[in-house]
C-alpha cells in the first residue's frame, strides 16, 4: 500500500512539473486560436487531463501537448467554425488596440492568415506564435523534422503569394 502511495506521489510530482513547465504555452496556443478566454482555460486543462490519463512512459514534450491541444480544439470547433473562431479572435485583438499603422498591418496579416489553407496557417502559427523549434514542430505535426521544414517553407510561400505586395515590403519608418 505504501509503495502505491509513493508511486502515485512520484507520478503526481512529475505531472505537476509537466504542468508547471508547459501550461502557459499550451494555454497560449489555445488562447491565440479561440475567442473565449474562459473556454481556452478549460480546454487547456483538458489537454493536461488527457496527458495524465494517458500515463505515458515518459513525460510528453511540448510537441505532443500542442498536438493534443489541436485535437481538443478540433473536437470543440470543426472546420469553418475553427477558422471563424480565429477570425473573431484576431478581430477582437484589433478592436482592443489603438488604431494606427501597426494595427492596419496586423489586420492585413490577419486577413491573409484566414484566407490560407488550414495546414499552412497552422504551420505558420506554430512556428511564429508558438515559437516552436523545427523538432518541436515536427512532433506537433507528427512528421519528421525535414518534412516539417518543408511544410514551413510551403506555408511561407503560400503566405507570400496571398499577401498584398505592399504588405511584403518592409515599412521604412
Amino acid at each position: 500500500m505504501s509503495g502505491g502511495n509513493t508511486m502515485l506521489a512520484a507520478k503526481e510530482q512529475a505531472f505537476v512539473d509537466l504542468h508547471t513547465q508547459h501550461s502557459a504555452r499550451v494555454y497560449g496556443y489555445i488562447a491565440c486560436r479561440i475567442n473565449d478566454r474562459h473556454r481556452a482555460e478549460e480546454l487547456a486543462a483538458d489537454v493536461f487531463r488527457i496527458a495524465w490519463q494517458k500515463q505515458l512512459s515518459e513525460p510528453p514534450g511540448i510537441g505532443w501537448l500542442l498536438a493534443t491541444a489541436r485535437n481538443v480544439i478540433g473536437n470543440e470547433y470543426k472546420g469553418r467554425h475553427r477558422r471563424q473562431e480565429l477570425t473573431d479572435r484576431l478581430q477582437e485583438e484589433a478592436r482592443s488596440q489603438t488604431p494606427g499603422a501597426d494595427t492596419k498591418e496586423q489586420a492585413a496579416v490577419a486577413a491573409v492568415l484566414v484566407r490560407l489553407r488550414e495546414r499552412d496557417r497552422e504551420v505558420l502559427m506554430l512556428s511564429y506564435w508558438d515559437d516552436l523549434t523545427t523538432a518541436e514542430l515536427a512532433q506537433t505535426l507528427g512528421c519528421s523534422p525535414s518534412a516539417a521544414a518543408v511544410r514551413l517553407h510551403r506555408a511561407r510561400r503560400a503566405f507570400a503569394k496571398a499577401a498584398p505586395s505592399h504588405l511584403m515590403t518592409e515599412r521604412k519608418d
Binding site: 501550461s23 490519463q53 505532443w64 498536438a67 477582437e92 490577419a110 495546414r119 507528427g142
Partner: protein, 250 residues
C-alpha cells in the same frame, strides 16, 4: 528575422496569463473536493498557487476515475497494447458488457442494426474497419479507405441506424504519427454504401469514456457522453449501441 516572420510575430494576439477568469479554477477544485471518492494527498492546501491547484485537482479526479476503471466490472475494454483485431467484441452489442465476456449469440433474424455475434451491420453494410473511409482534411484532403495494413489499429465499438463508432489504439496513433492525446472515439456515417469519417463534421469525434468520466461539470460519464452526442447532432438514443454503457457508477 525576415519579413514574414516579422509580420507574423507582430500580429500575434496578446495572451494574458490563465487563471484570471474569476471562479474557473475554484469551481473545478470545488467539484472534485466534494467527491467522496477523492483521496486527499498530503501537503496540499487550498492556499496553493492556482496552477498547482488545477494540476492537483486534475490528478485527484483522474486518480479516482482510474481506481473506478480498475475496480468496475461493467466497463468498455481498454485499447489493446497492440493493434486491435477487426471484428472484436464490442460492448455496445451486449446488455452487460464486460471486457472478458463473450458476446451473447443473437438470432440471425435480428434487425440489421441489432448486434450479431459474428458481425455488426447497419443499413446492410458490415460495420468493420474495412468499410470505413476517412477524410482527414489536413494531411489527406481526399477520402481514402483505411489501408488493410492499418485496419488492425482500429476497433469498431458499435453501429446503428447508419452510424458507426470506432476507436484507434494508442499504438495505432503512434504508428500513424497521429498522436495528440487519442482521447476520442470516432464517429462515421453511412454514405453511399460505406462509412465515412469526415473530420470536418461536428459529429466526427466524441471524447472517449475515460475522458468523459473526468468531466468537470458534475455529470456522470453517461450524462457527459449523452450531452456531447446531443450537442453534435448524434442521436442520443443510439449512444448505448454506438459506444456502450460506459463505466459503472463509482
Amino acid at each position: 528575422m525576415d519579413r514574414i516572420e516579422q509580420l507574423m510575430k507582430d500580429a500575434k494576439p496578446r495572451v494574458e496569463a490563465p487563471g484570471s477568469t474569476p471562479g474557473s479554477h475554484a469551481a473545478r477544485s470545488i467539484v472534485y473536493s466534494t467527491d467522496p471518492n477523492v483521496v486527499r494527498l498530503p501537503g496540499r492546501t487550498p492556499a496553493r498557487l492556482t496552477a498547482a491547484r488545477t494540476a492537483a485537482a486534475t490528478i485527484l479526479a483522474a486518480a479516482a476515475v482510474v481506481g473506478a476503471v480498475i475496480l468496475g466490472g461493467n466497463l468498455m475494454p481498454q485499447p489493446a497494447p497492440g493493434p486491435a483485431q477487426t471484428g472484436s467484441p464490442t460492448p455496445a452489442d451486449t446488455a452487460s458488457p464486460t471486457p472478458a465476456s463473450p458476446r451473447p449469440s443473437a438470432a440471425s433474424t435480428a434487425p440489421p442494426t441489432e448486434a450479431a455475434p459474428a458481425a455488426l451491420s447497419t443499413g446492410g453494410v458490415a460495420c468493420t474497419p474495412a468499410n470505413i473511409d476517412q477524410l482527414r482534411n489536413d494531411r489527406q484532403p481526399a477520402i481514402t479507405p483505411i489501408p488493410p495494413a492499418e485496419q488492425g489499429y482500429y476497433t469498431v465499438l458499435g453501429c446503428a441506424d447508419g452510424w458507426l463508432a470506432y476507436s484507434i489504439s494508442d499504438d495505432g496513433v503512434r504508428a500513424l504519427q497521429l498522436d495528440g492525446g487519442n482521447a476520442w472515439f470516432r464517429i462515421a456515417k453511412l454514405h453511399n454504401g460505406r462509412f465515412l469519417w469526415d473530420v470536418r463534421q461536428e459529429w466526427a469525434s466524441v471524447f472517449n469514456w475515460e475522458f468523459q468520466a473526468t468531466n468537470n461539470q458534475g455529470l456522470t460519464p453517461q450524462q457527459a457522453m449523452d450531452k456531447e452526442f446531443a450537442a453534435k447532432g448524434i442521436p442520443v438514443e443510439l449512444r448505448p449501441r454506438l459506444v456502450g454503457e460506459g463505466p459503472a457508477a463509482g
